[in-house]
């Protein structure tokens, strides 16, 4: 849970202890004050549990769900109904099933049951919701919130309708609120630092790159959605056992805005941010609420009775944050990531003599007649243009095949087809004899096809070592194994020094290498590289060639290289295939292809072809 291998022990400890210390301090302050103050602080801590629930989903996925408070409501209602003494339950909710109505459980048990039941609900509701597109999730979860409200407010005989429930035992004290907050901090951090958490963060950073390393969007989001819902349910249950009453309006739009504000102001990406944001916004909220009742400011003038002032203040804070400080007060970082605690290298990254990896994420392919990544007769038309015309291509394990041709020839499109990002209109793709045409990118990644992108598509918010480790996690490695693989790969690509630096701030050459490292971490049989040498100088190109040669020898994978830098192609590739206008113009050894006048003509035009031949 402490991010072993990806963070220094000190950093991991700080990230955990600082938020816990904040919670403890807040609780201590609350306990030492007036009963009214203690109640306020208790409620703030209950809110914190909900905000941490929001952080688990929103912070890690980058997608805003407006429905999480629907789960808080659900959890609150169920827990309340389980704890309200039977005599009162009969009066308020006459048609409630006897099992629940008669139950008079203690706070812990009712909270746990509510959380579990909400988890089941979230998984069921989340399954269709997470299948909708990224754009549609905020809207469909918003719809969910309103549906929940609608049901709670109108199903009088079971939920008490719009008047809600009363006589809820007030069992939540500042101690239990603090305890649960601590638990929530631990859960949120544990998830964030788990393999599942990293995979989800990869989808937040770049959906396309995430799919290319085997990560399924819907699956990862659903898991976080469910955990998030359960935390929200706990928060809801706690809150109503502090106030003693509950109505459908308690966890509806206003509360959604408040909790989202708390998360955004603190910095959605970090647990520390969630805690800081909650405390900061709650403090301001309380101050403004006191002003609402009318106060004199510095004895100079009075503000009259203005309900809603606090909410306006919150709205303004949210607005200003979005414009000025979009990453929130914490900058999206955990406590252990601020300042000097970062500097640390995971073991295995220091330069060692080149050694082949003893274990691999995937065994070496057995050479046989059907091995190879094959494209047969691939045709594809796109917005009216015929981009690929009946193309054939063969990539064998252990070889480097260069794919060259002028701009617009269809090279990247072909790689898209081979890696599942585009489906051909006709033709087949075969992976070691098995037809894989049209399979999704994530499935192909898990089957052994790795690729990089022209635009590098870095995981800007993850560190270098995390970006590579998540590649291994995407195809199923556990976190510890993934770190070992990442250490090996980074060492090989001489990026070890950069391990703890953010992926987004790397110079262009490194970003491309990072893309290669990430793809390598998936243990591919076939590696498709899209212009890896772009932006590299001569020396860096030489290093790249050496690295790739080593990769082919040690890993045994087949490498397809789209490249414009002829030096790289000639040095590395045993075979070269030339594309122009969606068709193959030439296939052969580098020397053959270079001297082929048809090839020179494709690139430069007729007058140069004559020159090349001479």
């Amino acid at each position: 849970m402490s991010g072993r291998g990806l963070r220094s022990p000190a950093s991991a400890a700080a990230s955990l202890l600082v938020p816990l210390a904040l919670v403890a301090t807040t609780a201590a302050l609350g306990a030492g004050g007036t009963p009214a103050f203690e109640d306020t602080v208790t409620l703030i801590l209950c809110n914190l549990v909900i905000v941490l629930g929001l952080q688990v989903f929103i912070g890690n996925s980058g997608v805003y769900s407006f429905g999480q408070l629907g789960f808080a409501a659900g959890g609150a209602y169920l827990a309340a109904l389980l704890t309200i003494p039977a005599i009162f339950t009969i009066l308020q909710t006459p048609e409630l099933p006897k099992l629940i109505a008669d139950a008079e459980l203690g706070p812990l048990l009712s909270t746990l049951i509510a959380a579990a039941a909400t988890g089941v609900l979230a998984a069921s509701v989340g399954w269709p919701l997470m299948r909708t597109s990224t754009l549609a999730i905020p809207i469909s979860t918003f719809a969910f919130l309103i549906v929940v409200y609608n049901v709670l407010a109108n199903w009088d005989p079971v939920t008490g309708g719009s008047s809600g429930l009363v006589s809820i035992p007030t069992t939540t004290g500042i101690g239990s609120a603090a305890l649960w907050s601590g638990v929530a901090v631990v859960v949120a951090l544990a998830f964030k630092r788990s393999a599942a958490g990293y995979r989800l963060q990869a989808t937040r950073e770049d959906e396309v790159a995430a799919r290319s390393i085997g990560i399924g969007l819907m699956r990862e989001r659903l898991l976080a959605f469910t955990i998030s819902a359960m935390l929200c349910a706990v928060g809801g249950a706690l809150a109503v056992h502090q106030s003693g009453t509950l109505s459908p309006k308690t966890f509806y739009f206003a509360a959604s805005v408040t909790t989202i504000t708390m998360l955004v102001v603190g910095g959605a990406r970090s647990v520390f941010g969630a805690v800081v944001g909650t405390l900061a916004v709650a403090t301001v909220n309380e101050l403004l609420r006191n002003l609402e009742e009318g106060a004199s400011v510095l004895g100079l003038f009075s503000i009259g009775d203005t309900p809603g002032l606090a909410a306006i203040g919150l709205g303004l804070i949210l607005l200003v944050t979005m414009v000025v400080l979009p990453d929130g007060l914490s900058g999206g970082r955990e406590a252990g990531e601020i300042g000097p605690l970062r500097r640390w290298l995971p073991p295995g990254l220091l330069p060692t003599p080149a050694a082949a990896m003893a274990e691999r994420a995937r065994p070496l392919p057995v050479t046989g007649s059907t091995t190879g990544l094959r494209a047969e007769g691939i045709s594809l038309a796109f917005t009216g243009l015929q981009v690929l015309r009946g193309l054939d291509l063969e990539l064998h394990p252990g070889e480097a095949l260069g794919l060259i041709g002028p701009n617009g020839a269809g090279k990247t499109t072909l790689v898209n087809v081979l890696s599942g990002f585009q489906s051909p209109d006709s033709g087949r793709v075969l992976l070691d004899g098995v037809e894989v045409t049209g399979l999704s990118p994530e499935r192909l990644a898990r089957a052994g096809i790795g690729r990089t992108f022209q635009a590098a598509l870095p995981f800007a918010g993850l560190t270098v070592v995390e970006s590579v480790a998540v590649g291994a996690m995407g195809v199923g490695a556990g976190r510890r194994r993934a770190v070992e693989i990442a250490a090996e790969v980074l060492g090989r690509l001489r990026l070890g020094e950069e391990a703890q630096r953010p992926g987004g701030l790397q110079p262009p050459g490194n970003q491309r290498l990072l893309g290669i490292a990430r793809a390598l971490a998936t243990g591919p049989r076939y590696l498709l590289l899209d212009e890896p040498a772009a932006g590299l100088n001569d020396e860096e190109c030489g290093e790249l060639v050496a690295i790739l040669r080593g990769v082919i020898e040690d890993f045994g994978c087949g490498v397809l290289l789209i490249e414009h830098d002829m030096n790289v192609v000639m040095d590395l590739c045993s075979r070269v295939q030339v594309l122009d206008g969606g068709e193959t113009v030439a296939v052969g050894t580098p020397e053959e292809v270079q001297a082929d006048p048809a090839v020179v003509e494709a690139y430069l035009g007729t007058s140069y072809a004559a020159g090349a031949h001479a």
Partner: protein, 231 residues
């Protein structure tokens, strides 16, 4: 008319152009060639205000262009025919043209339709029904309607059949004869260097060679920029 001094452009930390120097006088037709990834499109985008110049100057008719919004630069008289044509598919041919014609412009419209009769034929059709070559003609017509002082074309022959390319270049030849100032960016070096009086060879974000057509046609640097050191 157009002057670039020490132009450096970066996208998110990646420098795609380093210290590019270039100048273009009125009536000239200058080419920019180079392999993919050389920075040709970044050069054009910087001129048109779509990409931020990290350092250096761009001036047009003496006016600095850095920091201006794209629509302001367009109104100064620079017209771009972008890579991939980027006509508005959901609009008709006529609407695409009308969008470009400032004011009433019916006279200018007539002139353009005379020159490119295929557009008159397809006037009411949705632009995404046109063939690649027709779309290219539409894109150029659209740029012409703005009566630009400088016409910039980004890979006009991309994705077109050879015969269509001939038609397009025929049109460009007419424009050159009429004295239109043009900046032509292409991957196909031979045709471009042959067509333009002067050209620059861009590779790896830097100018590798430049000069008049006769000089460049003999310059081994051109071949090297494309095919690597072996040749």
């Amino acid at each position: 008319m157009l002057k670039l001094r020490g132009l450096t452009v970066a996208y998110g930390g990646v420098e795609v152009l380093h210290g590019v120097e270039m100048s273009l006088d009125e009536g000239e037709v200058v080419g920019v060639v180079g392999p993919n990834g050389a920075g040709k499109t970044s050069l054009l985008r910087a001129i048109c205000g779509l990409a931020l110049a990290k350092a250096g100057e761009i001036s047009f008719g003496g006016r600095p262009l850095r920091g201006l919004e794209p629509e302001e630069i367009a109104r100064l008289g620079i017209a771009l025919v972008p890579e991939g044509r980027q006509i508005f598919g959901t609009l008709t041919v006529g609407e695409n043209l009308r969008l470009a014609a400032p004011g009433d412009g019916s006279e200018a419209m007539e002139g353009v339709l005379e020159r490119l009769p295929i557009l008159r034929e397809r006037f009411g059709q949705r632009a995404d029904r046109l063939s690649g070559g027709e779309q290219q003609q539409l894109a150029i017509a659209r740029a012409l309607l703005r009566r630009p002082r400088l016409l910039i074309l980004d890979e006009p022959s991309l994705g077109l059949a050879p015969k269509t390319i001939d038609v397009v270049y025929g049109l460009l030849e007419e424009l050159r004869a009429e004295g239109t100032t043009m900046l032509l960016v292409e991957q196909n070096a031979a045709r471009t260097i042959d067509f333009c009086e002067r050209s620059l060879v861009l590779a790896g974000g830097r100018v590798r060679a430049s000069g008049r057509r006769e000089e460049l046609q003999r310059d081994p640097e051109v071949l090297r920029a494309y095919m690597g050191r072996q040749l």
